[in-house]
Symmetry: C2
Subunit: 669 residues, 2 copies
């Protein structure tokens, strides 16, 4: 904690002097009040009572979000020449049926058998068991650190109002509960049902029994067009919009992989029980990358640039043992040890670690947790989540999934569209193929309407399947089970399968997809918690230590008096800054300088300039740094240009101190 | 048309040499093929057959859209310190019930009585009458300009495949049809039904009768949450998100008007019959501004900056006379003559004219058409549309509506939220008020459950109403009709209404709203048509003359050979440009230079640099301008810096020619 009055031990020449933002200083209620008061975001249609899980961003929140997205665009799309898309939110139901979302994108819900109140099963189990463990600790007289308890209390209040009662549990049960909680994301609905039965988990408020867990699909439905007959869903992710356009993207990229498509846009999930503010909402902004890679070649050409980036890993085998401790390791080592499967996945983990820190996240509160087997989404072969710790616990903010060839395969099979890569072979190769030949007329007469479907099915067979059919035909006939579920007996006079040698010049494959997927609202909220602290001498004075890169306003310009000449000068300075693209705000109201700075410290504004009579007389202006409140002074145009460089990141505060003079005039504390 | 081979009559030193893009050069089929081939946009889920009215933007379209939005943000939000919002798409149905959209946001549809095919009534009438007028012209031997006929043919094909048959109409009927077409946007559903009966308008393809026009609400419905009981709609405009947050916005602006909120986001309209590509779609990006102004003070502080901007006006009284000719006039004159109602409305019309021209629209194909009485949306008191002419005709791209106090009033009445402005009066004023006083106990005993509602109703009465009740009470009792529809007789012993004088220090009012609303997809498509032309010597070589401001890629960097040293140099140059924030593309494939430039001319890339062996030996690079193909040459870093200035707009081509040398080496034509 930096105090402006005492001699500061942290160097005012550092841009971000270390600020002690430990848990016991953090008061979430005060932060929440600030975020509401300064209109970062608020419940949507609040004047109508609002709806759980829907939030509007005000000017401050919109500005912060826009800057985070701009940083994301530069870090990924521009830096790596990604192909940007903007696809529709409204999605034809057939697309999401094929992708598996209609059948599998669901959570488990339970209902109070009397009141009908609905809970999400896994969250309820988590809340109840945590409450019991807490009560057990109380009964045993185990002293928990007061602040964490307080944070947990708030967390529990937000979860389910599950009060903890001081009851000592059997040692065995404590172990079982801890084990269950470590694996909570891995249970199926029926398994949760068993846990609830075994440990008698009921509605904590009414004590009524709950129904068996039932699946609830998480997509919003709608109908397209005046007949209402075209069924659509609001997309739960932007990914499908990338995949169905793969052929066009590949053509745009001259037929070559690897390359990536990227999209920033709204997605929707009809959550059973939204909670935790911005962390679990029904409508949210995502930024998604689909990186298409040769399944046989997951080496990444730029991996060397990131191999020394340190990640904080929580692999799945650790969690399966019921433990939650993390290991710090460079991504180079993690890939070498096969903890992270391949360079491409490792590259994106490293790049994401760099991005989160760049926008201001506290690296000590970021970890990479691998999904356990049952928890993975239906389309994922492997998945690492960047979880960020806030007062709500460890929350997934970025998912890095290996979607293998799942999505492109299912869409290709359904539509017959060529969602694959064709690669010219360096050396042509000779391969033996088995080729079916039909006696067309006789085949058609025998199978009538089914003839076409059967032929297509046989033509699409893999070599091994054709060999089986060939072997059976040698004995007189082959019985084939077709996609329609029926068996068809084909005699050897109708179908011949002959080997032939073919020279292939080309290899064809379906690329694998590595998908970093960013929940922008969660990242934004976590960043606010990580950035917030209160000045020692006055807890009511909050500061958001946002990096200049993402701060909504970069520079505040204030004057101490209402003098018209000063006002003109201020607006002149503001115009100059605007021309340079620096987002600035003028405060020429009658409040004190200290109050003006305090009002903007809590918006995260990193720099402030005071214009006074000396400015009119000597043409100088002061420059204040938010966190340390240190000040410099210099000619107005020099100060403007220094602010420009500070905002662009080409110099830091030390560099600024080299271009201007130190100033210790009126303390604005 | 500029030919590179002949001595050019247009000066290559102009950045945008005048290009003759008249109608007879424009071949929409070729442009459409280009837009598809280069993945500007394509039908959503095309591999699934697509859905009418849903389009995905590919990398080129996304880049162009992002640049248009960035220009919009700078022109409006930043330039005028607007408060940006990001609100939810999913909207509680109650909000849109209150706003009037549930009841009134509809189009009229008619259905083929046999086949069930659905048409939008006004568009069908328009298509049929236009076809008959065309047939009449043919029959009379009136020669229409071939190109316009061609454009009209395509337009008709897209409308309804309404073939024109050469039949001479009675002169009277020709006049009637022209009159109807001029006023087509002004008819109600029943009026359209009468027109269809009178002129025997049936399904042009089947000749079957059509049903009476029936209203179809244009909003997509959905249900929120697991019970399905919270009804929601996808917003048809972003506006309501602004209005329900008005109190917070006003507080953010320190209680003062005028100010504006702004939002860029997706909106949805479940169109009856989408057509015309990007011009009538079911999901689209809007940019909307809600400017809140004192109803008694619509003077605009910055009007002087724009009073000389020329607008092309088509006022409502001209249209009501069945005419469509426009008048050119400065906005200063238009406001002075009350053609445009007030300075604030005029200010936004002028700023929008400037914006459209800035991003490259052809000003001769932009007009401002005022809405006629019946055509206005339910919330609008006045509305001017910026219509842009394309091969589809004159299409509304920006609507400037005066929404008066409608929206804030209805939301305030419904929710009792304080959506109004309080203004301190310079001089306090003394007013006489009437104050009701109840005998609380007796009133409660008399009216029981209704007592509360009745009291609230009476307290909320305007002075005139209270006076009526007072007068009736003087005769013994007053009968009051309450909001529940029932009449209540209140005797004079239960209620007294007494005059009292009050000193008011404050004025309270509901601000009026001026709303410029931009359809980004329509603007983008119109811009593409306005920018497209084909080189004289080779009609297959299309050029998009997009201003550098909005072009997706600013600079192409090419080399003539595959030499590794040149490749390294090219990527080095690309990196330097990236650091300056210049979006560039490298083409180091084996195609000819001319082909590379042609491929990028059709993406609208304004500048190109060729790197060759001279670059390695002498450190020079050429710089080519897209439209004229004129070339300059200079040291590599100088050229890079010139490109930077050209892209930023701080110099034009003439300025560039002043910093580099002319180059007439190998013609890349």
């Amino acid at each position: 904690m930096v105090s402006a009055s005492a001699a500061s031990t942290s160097h005012p020449s550092e841009l971000h002097p270390p600020v002690n933002k430990t848990a016991h200083e953090f008061d979430k209620a005060v932060l929440d009040a600030l975020l509401a008061r300064r209109f970062f975001f608020s419940p949507a249609f609040e004047i109508y009572g609002g709806v759980a899980g829907l939030y509007d961003y005000g000017p401050t929140g919109s500005g912060l979000q826009a800057n985070i997205l701009d940083a994301w665009r530069k870090h990924y799309i521009i830096e790596e020449d990604m192909l940007e898309l903007d696809t529709t939110i409204m999605t034809l139901s057939e697309v999401l049926k094929t992708s598996g979302h209609v059948d599998k994108f669901a959570d488990w819900m339970v209902k109070d058998v009397k009141t009908g109140e609905i809970f999400r099963a896994d969250h309820l189990v988590e809340a109840v068991l945590e409450a019991r463990l807490k009560g057990d600790k109380e009964a045993r007289g185990v002293k928990e650190e007061a602040p964490i308890e307080e944070a947990d209390d708030k967390k529990k209040k937000k979860k389910k109002n599950v009060k903890s009662v001081a009851v000592k549990l059997p040692d065995e049960e404590v172990k079982e509960f801890e084990y269950i909680l470590a694996k909570i994301d891995d249970y199926t609905g029926p398994q949760l049902g068993e846990i609830m039965k075994k440990y008698k988990i009921v509605n904590p408020e009414t004590n009524n029994d709950l129904t068996e867990p039932v699946e609830f699909n998480l997509m919003f439905e709608s109908a397209i067009g005046p007949t209402g007959q075209i069924k659509g869903y609001l997309r739960p992710e932007t990914a499908q919009g990338h995949f169905v356009n793969f052929a066009r993207l590949l053509e745009f990229n001259n037929g070559k992989v690897p390359f990536a498509s990227a999209q920033i846009g709204r997605s929707f999930r009809n959550e059973i029980a939204p909670r935790q503010g911005l962390l679990r909402v029904r409508e949210f902004t995502m930024a998604e990358i689909e990186h298409y890679v040769d399944p046989l070649d997951k080496v990444h050409p730029r991996f060397d640039e990131v191999r020394d980036v340190v990640l904080t890993l929580l692999p799945k085998d650790v969690q399966m043992e019921g433990r939650t401790e993390t290991t710090q390791m460079t991504v180079g080592d993690a890939v070498a040890k096969k903890i992270v499967d391949n360079e491409t996945l490792g590259y994106f983990l490293a790049r994401t670690q760099l991005f989160l820190v760049k926008i201001g996240m506290d690296a000590t509160r970021v970890r990479c947790r691998q999904h356990m087997a049952n928890e993975m989404a239906h389309y994922a072969a492997d998945c690492w989540d960047f979880e960020i710790q806030s007062s709500y616990g460890w929350i997934e903010c970025v998912g890095c999934a290996d979607r293998s060839a799942y999505d492109l395969s299912v869409h290709a099979a359904r539509t017959k569209a060529p969602l694959r890569v064709q690669q010219k072979l360096d050396e042509p190769r000779v391969v033996e193929k088995l080729v079916p030949t039909f006696d067309a007329k006789a085949f058609g007469m025998k199978f009538k309407k089914e003839a076409g479907m059967l032929k297509e099915f046989i033509f699409a067979m893999e070599k091994e399947q054709l060999q089986c059919v060939k072997d059976e035909l040698a004995k007189g006939s082959s019985t084939v089970q077709a996609p329609d579920g029926n068996k068809y007996e084909i005699s050897s006079d109708l179908l011949k399968i002959e080997p032939t040698t073919v020279t292939e010049h080309m290899r064809e494959f379906i690329p694998n997809v590595i998908e970093p997927s960013f929940g922008i609202g969660r990242i934004l909220y976590s960043l606010l918690e990580h950035s917030y602290w209160a000045r020692e001498q006055d807890k009511a004075r909050g500061v958001l230590s946002l990096p200049a890169l993402v701060a909504p306003i970069k520079c505040l310009i204030v004057t101490i008096s209402q003098d018209p000449a000063l006002r003109t000068l201020i607006h002149d300075i503001s115009r100059k800054m605007r021309k340079l693209g620096i987002a600035s705000r003028v405060d020429d109201s009658s409040a004190s300088i200290g109050k003006k700075y305090a009002r903007n410290d809590e918006l995260g504004t990193p720099f402030g300039c005071t214009v006074d009579f000396a400015s009119l007389q000597k043409g100088t202006m002061t420059l204040r740094e938010r966190d340390s409140t240190a000040q410099l002074i210099g000619p107005i145009d020099t100060v403007i240009s220094v602010v420009d460089e500070l905002v662009k990141g080409t110099i830091d505060w030390k560099g600024a101190a080299g271009k201007l003079e130190s100033y210790s005039g009126v303390q604005d504390v």
